[in-house]
Symmetry: C2
């Protein structure tokens, strides 16, 4: 099949091979899957030279095409990054196998036993951008969860991804698992993405990992389910019953621990009763770290140097050392602000008040809701998932950081002994 001329046929071929492999993967033992992960890790390190040579070609082509430095940095592999990929696969091997777990097995009045068994989703497509390490990472997670994966990386990383895919195939072969359990899309034609996300019945889930443009395009075109993460406009609300020291520490950390990440705070809400006490201390910390502040009128009454925030600020994910600050009357106004301007990602309250803490936890409709903790904790590793395929801001299936469990589903099992319905 010529991938260049018949994208639809090529993608359908991949998906049909994946479907077939998915049946074998669902039945594969934990030992076989872990052996494959270990063999992949070993192959990555043994074939480091090949991978770095392929990567050097990608980098050269990228420079020639005028890619910017940030993109080139994400694209670049080196011995440390190859070692990190291998280590990531070994960590996935060490996680408990989610497949086969039976929960809630109960006897019903009819005498049947009904429970739920965790099983793989089937065929999972991952669409990502320049970082080639996602190839190993996503392959490892899909494999451990018993799925067949179709990986579509960025065209600028195609040579690196092919070299990594060769190591993955070697690992599959050594463990006796089907080659089609992990397939890398070999064409850089953008139409391949459109085909992948429209193969209902063949592809069970698509996970776009990348910038807003990629995710919006996939969502608009998809006919298969998409696990997506649109954006993170995260809030910290400092209640007037907050401990001021905890409030300052959390609001500082949530903004300044890292700027370009989805779980960084973008808007700080402060109860008017505590604003005069915490804002000056916070402003000093932010100033020291070079964070630009934008505030409402009441904020500026306390911090006159702060530039005025516009309506657009409340809806902006800066991903930068910029913070908007709003003084609110109290928890009602804070919850209403988050409902209107938040993105359903992660929001935190700082308070010592028991009732308000629980009210915030119940009423704020975000994938992670926190009390007295920094929004930066919203992360698969911090939550104990072991690894993360992404953070979902959808409500269905998986919400928040998504690990192995999000790459599986549950079916009902019924155990009888000749039972019929009367």
């Amino acid at each position: 099949m010529d991938a260049k001329t018949d994208i639809a046929g090529y993608m359908r071929g991949l998906a049909e091979a994946a479907r077939e492999a998915a049946r074998a993967m669902a039945a594969a033992s934990t030992a076989a899957k872990d052996a494959a992960l270990a063999a992949m890790a070993a192959a990555l390190q043994a074939r480091e030279g090949e991978i770095l040579a392929a990567n050097a070609e990608d980098l050269a082509a990228g420079r020639a095409a005028g890619l910017d430095d940030a993109l080139l940095d994400r694209l670049e592999l080196n011995p440390q990054r190859v070692a990190a990929m291998a280590e990531g696969l070994r960590q996935i091997a060490a996680l408990p196998d989610p497949v086969g777990e039976v929960t809630q097995l109960r006897v019903r009045p009819s005498g049947i036993r009904v429970g739920r068994m965790r099983v793989p989703l089937g065929v999972v497509g991952i669409i990502y951008e320049s970082r080639p390490n996602v190839t190993a990472d996503a392959a490892g997670l899909c494999l451990k969860a018993g799925n067949a994966a179709i990986l579509r990386g960025g065209s600028e990383a195609i040579r690196s991804n092919r070299a990594i895919a060769a190591c993955i195939r070697q690992g599959l072969a050594e463990a006796g698992l089907p080659q089609a359990a992990v397939q890398v899309v070999e064409t850089t034609d953008r139409a391949a993405v459109g085909e992948l996300v429209r193969m209902e019945g063949l592809v069970d889930l698509v996970v776009p990992r990348g910038g807003k443009g990629l995710i919006e395009r996939v969502t608009a075109e998809a006919r298969v389910p998409v696990l997506k993460h649109l954006h993170g406009i995260c809030h910290v609300y400092i209640d007037d019953r907050a401990d001021p020291d905890k409030a300052v520490a959390i609001a500082d950390n949530a903004k300044t621990h890292r700027y370009g990440v989805c779980n960084a705070m973008e808007t700080l809400l402060v109860a008017e009763g505590i604003a005069p006490r915490v804002l000056p201390a916070l402003a000093a910390r932010y100033r020291e770290k070079g964070v630009e502040l934008r505030g409402c009128a009441r904020t500026r009454a306390i911090l006159p140097d702060v530039r005025p925030a516009t309506e657009a600020d409340w809806d902006t994910e800066y991903l930068a050392p910029i913070l908007s600050i709003r003084v609110v009357a109290g928890i009602d106004e804070a919850i209403a602000h988050i409902a209107r301007h938040g993105s359903g990602h992660t929001d935190a309250i700082v308070t010592e008040d028991y009732g308000r803490a629980w009210r915030f936890l119940r009423e704020v409709d975000s994938s992670s809701v926190m009390v007295n903790a920094s929004t930066r904790f919203a992360d698969g590793f911090e939550y104990g998932l072991g690894a993360e395929i992404g953070i979902s801001t959808d409500k269905l299936h998986a919400r928040g950081p998504v690990g192995l469990e999000g790459l599986t589903t549950q079916k009902y099992i019924v155990l009888g002994d000749g039972h019929v319905r009367v």
Copy 2:
């Protein structure tokens, strides 16, 4: 707003009101929700006369429009059916409230406590056909799960649905809950469905309840998540290590207990080693009940009177007293047949063999997989869900019979004491 001329604006208005109501519903107490359900039930019975009068108008209009008898029967209400609606609401009130349950709350090495809290989905749209009792049923389930519901019934039942909606509003008012928590679409224009399923960000889930045509249309047009049930081609596989008496009882029950239901068996698979022993006994039972049999060549070698099955039979959901029978070499061929021809709804094995039972449970990729039990058990009530909004053959979010839990989602909660990320 004129619903007849501005369907898009009208539907957006409903959805915005529902979104607002959903916030209040998410915070509503179990007591308030149960009081509303009880008040709705009382109103349905108190206003039975109004409901039956409205229903009589629907029936007269339906007869004039030439609706067939089956449709008119589904449309018809009588005092027993009104009482059953009220009883259904009382049963929903008696179910445990799924909202607010916190599970898996664990301390992480950083010191934060991470758990998952069950919360409502938000705004749920239900699209259904002629049965007006779905109006009460779906409203009750959505309300108990803390959602706001937008209900779009069949145009032939519009007067009945309006009368039932009046009782629902009365119940909401008596319990102090917002009127927009349950809204019935007042226009019969088909464009309303298209609008409802495309309001991303305002509608969190759409559940189509009805025939294949409705579900296919909704799926094709939807931009919001859809909980769907396409069709049920259910199998029973009689293994050669089956107890013949259990096998005959289960295969009889799975086919003949009710014919027009999605969990009825449509294809019987029998291992060649046991076929001569069980097929004659089964054929006698089916003949007695007037079930038409269609068989493969090996079936017809044992039952010469059976007409030949065509390839199309293996892919057909008869919903009628017709059964296709295939003799297979053993469990491998049975699992392969189900993977190729099944619809992922419900499949059962009859066997006394421990290893084969577990293999079938693991490898058959259907929403319900059973050992030694009739496929007819695949049902929300039989599984102990208390009530059912439908059976999902999707893999994501909810799979199999869907009760209150499928109308909710889980968010992460994080409890700290001033914790910041290092």
